[in-house]
């Protein structure tokens, strides 16, 4: 039983990281219907930025964290401007390819700048543990969970309570109509990319104590975050986080209770099973073309 709870907590923590990356996918998808295959690589880059600020320049953890988030938000806007905006509205497949290309580029460049070694970021909660009875919970894992909850609440508030959030939802429904209603669609899209890169950075920094940062971490985790987003029904913010947690828990349970090898494929098997039964994911809306 104790093992189970322990596995559950680490599964949830890992799942939160997936969920945060998935959140980035969903944000961009909701606003522009672009599926950003480079989301994981944005996370990786965010981790490296934080490492540069904290590990190499020796800044305070929180200042370095904030700096990385700000820098990546700018970078997200830049990426949108250069790679995505010129082809906005083209078939989804083209845009997917463009972001795959962006991912390649970011991975290689990061490898060139920061090398291919595993890097680690020291955090204020790298070491401590919380003891509840005989249960031992590491702070780094709890911090991921807490941060995810906070971020989700903030994003929910942003989307539902602010004007900018409403504008984003409007332009995601129909960009041309939103444009005619006076919403600066281009700026809105820029902001969405900034937010999504910032969220990815949070994931990257939070992840650093759990896994190391290296140039391929984005690809590896991105491939897990994708099923998470799809499981949640691509386009639903709570769905992304729930999907992420599910994938995380499945993975950690399969790793603990099943034979070696299941850990990596279990999430995909579950995903395929879910898609068979519900092709639009757990929280997705089923819509059909009107004729």
């Amino acid at each position: 039983m104790l093992d189970f709870v322990q596995q559950l907590v680490s599964g949830v923590a890992l799942g939160c990281v997936y969920g945060l990356i998935a959140l980035g996918f969903v944000l961009v998808y909701k606003a522009t219907e672009v599926v950003n295959f480079a989301q994981g690589d944005l996370m990786m880059l965010g981790g490296f930025f934080a490492f540069t600020f904290i590990g190499m320049m020796g800044l305070n953890y929180w200042i370095g964290f904030a700096g990385a988030v700000a820098a990546m938000a700018l970078f997200g806007m830049l990426a949108e401007r250069v790679v995505v905006r010129p082809i906005l509205g083209y078939p989804q497949f083209s845009i997917i390819m463009a972001t795959i290309g962006l991912g390649y580029f970011l991975r290689s460049v990061a490898g060139m700048i920061w090398g291919t070694d595993d890097l680690k970021i020291e955090t204020p909660f790298s070491q401590g543990v919380l003891r509840v009875g005989s249960l031992v919970l590491a702070y780094d894992k709890l911090s991921v969970i807490a941060a995810t909850v906070i971020l989700c609440t903030l994003l929910w508030l942003f989307f539902n309570k602010t004007t900018l959030g409403t504008a984003m939802r409007a332009s995601s429904e129909n960009m041309l109509a939103a444009y005619y209603m006076g919403i600066p669609v281009k700026r809105v899209v820029s902001v969405v990319w900034a937010i999504s890169a910032a969220v990815a950075t949070c994931a990257g920094v939070l992840l650093a104590p759990i896994t190391f940062i290296h140039s391929n971490v984005g690809l590896v985790l991105g491939l897990k975050a994708f099923p998470a987003a799809v499981l949640g029904g691509f386009g639903s913010i709570p769905g992304a986080v729930v999907g992420g947690v599910l994938i995380g828990v499945i993975e950690s349970m399969a790793g603990f209770y099943l034979a070696e090898g299941w850990k990596d494929v279990a999430p995909y098997i579950v995903l395929l099973a879910v898609l068979l039964l519900k092709p639009e994911g757990l929280f997705g809306l089923h819509v059909r073309k009107k004729v």
Partner: protein, 383 residues
């Protein structure tokens, strides 16, 4: 400009509409046939890979380009073909038998993937195919009694009708070329028949296709099966060419490469698959060539612009250091993909058509002919 006067329905069915086609394809075929006696063994080896990649590209085009079903899992089909060949070889099954068996098995598995994929569209389908490929990769690594796990499998030299065909012999190249040509001809035949038109109909409007009597589910499964089977055939040749296969050869990376073949070549014509394959196979030697020769060239240019020998040498070593950076290749790769999507969405074949039109219309060609219209995003969720 050439004007074609059609005098019978036959004219629209022909694969070679006019004499020009016979001449240009005839020359191409002649060049390909004398290639092994002219080119270096390294280039011949690359040419074999072009044939294999182009075969996969044609298979992927049927599914992605013509039926509109994206797949990022074709490496798995290639793997299944390759492993089937390697496994059956252990029991001394002759080449023609295991070649066909590999295609049949891959086609069957393709159909099985097609069934769950029926209800999936767009990004969901992409993810489902990725998942399928990752699961296959894991199975190959774990099912040790059949696949020998991560140790990989040795593939014996091909033997056809009692004659051994080494993997770098001209005969092997001709075999690959024959498979490619047959695949292309078969696909062209399909595209001018009811099945091919049904595929295109499904790509453009499932609702309309259905209302015209197309059994959408059946044809999607057919498309998956044909595409997978072709990839399976290519897998057998791939296994023979490499003479050793292991699970880490068939990763997502390879699936992405196949998609790039189609994307860079052009998704609307079979020419695209071939051009894309040439591109993806040849980019590696090309980058290596740049890496070796570029520093000297740049230093030479610097010298002609009046840089002293010391500065030129300095520049040369700097450029050489930059060129040998780890990962530069990946970065260039990424940039090429992005540039193609941004500036040449019709791919290499589209560029070729534009150049052709330029000379046909000279001097009346207008850039605006191919100018893209501004498109506004409309939610696909409501479509």
């Amino acid at each position: 400009m050439r004007f074609l006067f059609k005098t019978s329905y036959e004219d629209d069915i022909k694969l070679f509409p006019h004499l020009g086609y016979f001449v240009s394809y005839g020359i191409l075929l002649a060049l390909l046939l004398i290639a092994p006696y002219v080119l270096s063994s390294y280039l011949m080896s690359q040419l074999v890979f072009v044939c294999i990649y182009a075969t996969v590209g044609v298979g992927l085009l049927i599914l992605t380009g013509f039926t509109g079903q994206a797949s990022l899992g074709h490496a798995a089909f290639l793997a299944i073909g390759a492993y089937t060949a390697a496994y059956l070889q252990k029991y001394n099954v002759p080449f023609p038998a295991y070649f066909l068996a590999a295609g049949a098995l891959t086609g069957l598995i393709g159909a099985m993937v097609g069934f769950p994929a029926l209800r999936l569209t767009g990004i969901y389908l992409v993810i489902a195919t990725i998942s399928f490929a990752l699961i296959v990769e894991e199975i190959l690594a774990r099912w040790e009694s059949v696949t020998n796990g991560n140790e990989g499998m040795r593939v014996k030299t091909l033997s056809l009708l009692g004659v051994t065909v080494p993997r770098d012999s001209p005969t092997f190249y001709f075999l690959c070329l024959a498979v490619l040509v047959l695949t292309i001809v078969g696909t062209l035949n399909l595209l001018r028949s009811p099945t091919g038109r049904a595929f295109v109909a499904i790509r453009d409007s499932e609702t309309a296709a259905r209302s015209m009597g197309v059994n959408v589910a059946l044809y999607k499964v057919k498309s998956f099966a044909i595409s997978a089977a072709i990839t399976g055939f290519a897998g057998v040749l791939f296994a023979h060419k490499l003479s050793f296969i292991s699970p880490e050869m068939f990763t997502l990376q390879l699936s992405i490469e196949f998609i790039i073949v189609v994307l860079i070549g052009g998704t609307f014509s079979l020419h695209g698959a071939v051009l894309g394959a040439i591109f993806i196979v040849m980019i590696d030697p090309f980058l290596t060539y740049l890496k070796d020769d570029m520093p000297g060239i740049i230093a030479g240019i610097a010298a002609t612009f009046g840089a002293g020998p010391a500065t030129a040498g300095n520049i040369q070593s700097k450029v050489a250091a930059f060129a040998s950076l780890n990962g530069l290749k990946g970065a260039i790769y990424g940039i090429i993909i992005v540039l193609f999507v941004l500036f040449e969405p019709l791919g290499l074949y589209g560029r070729w058509l534009k150049i052709k039109l330029f000379f046909q219309l000279f001097p009346l060609y207008k850039r605006a002919t191919f100018k893209r219209q501004k498109i506004y995003v409309k939610s696909e969720r409501n479509r």
